[in-house]
């Protein structure tokens, strides 16, 4: 897929990138390196600076300070540097009245693919994204999952060495997400460097070789997911308490007193505890005593979601 799949030289190097909009800093000395065959998940709350960082990597923003290099060249100054870049926007960035194959062919032509190589390039993109069976269906008639994969196909037809995916599975069901994940893994195996942003922390945990947490323009945490989780939480386990119904104000005070915090899921509260299962048993008894009978209590290893919460709430030192 890539020109130099065997090389381990960085494809992308961001060094001390600084940028501000009207005096408001959005990137503060961000560093990021990406090598061939690596999946990097860029995480962070809305407004953290992810979009600005991606636009900088795409050469659309020239940073106020620092440097962005794609294979050693500045994408904002040297347009040829962008030849090895493929972008998959969050939206379905395709022409809906055209078929999948026609769309891929269009973007191949706009990326400068020679006419003689066109058919083979289109076929390869269809195969890599597993959309061959829908090649001649107009995009507007595809399911959400196929549209997502066609969206990726249009970005890889010119064989980029760096693929940037902005929320590649937003709004699709689990099966479709798994299909997209398989496509991304396949590209990684071919040596493509993948940089993705996502709010789906399960997906990031399952796919990414490395993750980076961006918060208020700063890369506050970066590394392999398991290593980061182990470093942040040590031997602690996450206790998840599922309640049957919404609790009143008094109940909330009781839950808070037990160190439980509300999660994004309805009626689910959680806390971290080094004692794990033993702590869960004690917690169950105490909650029953005050009339907050849990429907279920689960104990699991902490995830990226717990780490994300720490980062977002600035409970973690930069």
């Amino acid at each position: 897929m890539t020109a130099e799949p065997a090389s381990r030289d960085p494809i992308l190097t961001v060094t001390g990138a600084v940028h501000a909009y009207g005096g408001r800093p959005v990137l503060r000395a961000v560093d990021l390196t990406l090598r061939p065959g690596e999946i990097y998940a860029l995480l962070g709350p809305n407004g953290a600076g992810k979009t600005t960082l991606i636009r900088t990597i795409c050469g659309r923003i020239r940073p106020d300070g620092g440097q962005v290099l794609l294979k050693g060249r500045d994408p904002a100054r040297v347009s040829a540097a962008r030849a090895g870049l493929g972008l998959v926007p969050q939206e379905i960035a395709l022409y809906p009245n055209l078929t999948v194959a026609e769309n891929i062919q269009t973007f191949a032509a706009l990326a400068g693919t020679p006419r003689a190589a066109m058919a083979a390039a289109v076929q390869r993109a269809l195969e890599l994204t597993r959309t061959v069976d829908r090649a001649h269906v107009p995009v507007k008639h595809l399911s959400g999952g196929y549209q997502r994969r066609a969206n990726i196909a249009a970005a890889i037809v010119h064989e980029p060495s760096l693929l940037i995916l902005d929320e590649p599975t937003v709004g699709v069901d689990l099966d479709a997400r798994e299909a997209v994940d398989q496509v991304i893994r396949g590209l990684r195996d071919l040596g493509v460097a993948v940089l993705m942003t996502t709010h789906d922390l399960d997906q990031a945990g399952a796919l990414a070789d490395r993750v980076g947490f961006l918060n208020e323009g700063q890369m506050v945490l970066e590394g392999e997911p398991k290593a980061l989780i182990a470093e942040a939480f040590g031997a602690q386990m996450e206790i998840l308490v599922h309640l049957s119904e919404e609790v009143d104000a008094a109940g909330e005070i009781q839950l808070a007193a037990e160190g439980l915090e509300r999660t994004r899921r309805a009626h689910v509260w959680s806390r971290l505890d080094a004692d794990g299962y033993a702590a869960a048993g004690r917690l169950d008894k105490r909650l029953r005593k005050v009339g907050l009978t849990p429907r279920e209590i689960r104990v699991r290893e902490p995830s990226l979601a717990n780490l994300f919460t720490l980062v977002a709430e600035r409970k973690l030192a930069a």
Binding site: L94, Y95, L98
Partner: protein, 398 residues
């Protein structure tokens, strides 16, 4: 790269039946409607509906009424009751274009007729007057003569019995001699400056007027694709690549020029087939004029749409521009009916240049000397719009 964009636009249009109809079927249809309306209202074909009340009830007023009703030049109908009030009512209600009240014998010395017309139909009164005079002179020449004699008699110091008898004999002879076909008894003979089946210059005018109107309308619809490309992220995808949006803008421009050409072909072929407008005979000048007009519409549309931030903004601006330019430039109402100042303002629209160029070629058989300026203006406006679109597309990178 540019060809890829042209292909996208072509496939997109081909698969959108509604857009196809709007682009290639609607323009000839609108042209046919406009040309039918104006060909019948600016030439000899105008058939005024005239309400006639014979209040005088003399033999000659009866003859005039009968002649008017029989005349193919006017749709005259007698009213009942035959009163001036009834004529006024019908005109006011819009059931007649104008009214004629014959209040005295037509040969009498005063003003025997009253024309009643609605001021909102300003042309109706003089036209009705002309038609009545035409019928009077052609069908009742004896009455016209007797009225002349009546008017002259005081100036001559009265007629002798012999002179009066001769005048009566001449009047009787005139009354009994049927008028020659096509002779309206007036002073004038007519000569047309151009042969045509029907409508003539007005048809050529409206072919051009509808062409430029729809070229701009369709180009605006096509250019709105730029907004869609921004909304769906296609622009982001392309801006992250080597080529950027440049080939997209150029590709759209070339497609829209081609679309304008095909659209114009549909309109002018209709004009030739239905009305005999000599398009094929003037193809050498028609083609560059059409290319210049299409390029102008394409460039302006792309430039204007590029100025907008959202599709909603672009749609509002395009509707505003299309309607205003069409109204000022003469696509809605013929320019020769406009006041001079508005005709001057019209030169700031592509419509006026295109319409005048088409008229010069197709109606006045003018040569390149009459249209090269229009080609220059239209092409320059189109290229300016294209340049604006390119500059703004480049700024999208930031």
């Amino acid at each position: 790269m540019i060809a890829a964009m042209v292909r996208v636009m072509a496939l997109d249009l081909w698969r959108d039946r509604g857009a196809l109809v709007m682009t290639f079927l609607l323009p000839p249809l609108v042209f046919l409607i406009f040309s039918s309306v104006f060909a019948g209202t600016t030439g000899d074909d105008i058939q005024l509906k005239l309400a006639v009340a014979d209040v005088a009830r003399t033999p000659d007023s009866g003859r005039l009424t009968a002649a008017l009703v029989k005349s193919p030049e006017v749709r005259a109908e007698t009213v009942s009751p035959a009163t001036a009030e009834e004529v006024r009512r019908l005109v006011k209600a819009g059931q007649a274009d104008a009214g004629l009240v014959i209040r005295e014998d037509p040969a009498s010395a005063g003003k025997p007729f009253v024309i009643i017309a609605d001021p909102s139909r300003a042309v109706a009164a003089p036209l009705a007057q002309a038609r009545v005079q035409q019928v009077l002179a052609a069908a009742l020449p004896d009455v016209a003569m007797r009225r002349t004699v009546t008017l002259l008699e005081p100036a001559l110091g009265g007629l002798s019995d012999e002179q009066a008898e001769n005048a009566d004999s001449a009047a009787a002879l005139l009354r009994d001699t049927p008028p020659k076909a096509g002779d309206d008894g007036g002073f004038f003979d007519r000569e047309a400056v151009k042969d045509a089946k029907t409508g003539g210059g007005v048809i050529a005018y409206y072919a051009g007027a509808v062409m430029i109107l729809f070229a701009l309308f369709s180009a605006m619809q096509g250019a709105l694709g730029l907004m869609e490309e921004r909304r769906t992220g296609v622009a982001d995808r392309l801006l992250a690549g080597v080529a950027g949006m440049g080939p997209v803008v150029t590709g759209k421009f070339l497609f829209l020029v081609g679309q304008g050409l095909v659209q114009a072909l549909a309109i002018f072929v209709t004009a030739q087939l239905v009305y005999g407008v000599a398009v094929v005979q003037h193809a050498a000048l028609w083609l560059p004029t059409t290319l210049a007009a299409s390029a102008c519409a394409a460039g302006l549309a792309l430039g204007l749409v590029s100025l907008c931030r959202t599709r909603e903004q672009a749609q509002m601006l395009s509707t505003f521009v299309i309607l205003i330019l069409a109204a000022i430039g003469g696509s809605m109402v013929p320019r020769f009916l406009m006041p001079p100042w508005l005709q001057t303002v019209g030169w700031f629209t592509p419509h006026a240049w295109a319409i005048e160029a088409y008229q010069a070629i197709l109606w006045r058989d003018a040569g390149i000397g009459a249209v090269y300026k229009a080609w220059g203006v239209l092409t320059a406006a189109g290229l300016l719009g294209l340049a604006v679109a390119h500059v703004l597309a480049r700024r999208l990178r930031r």
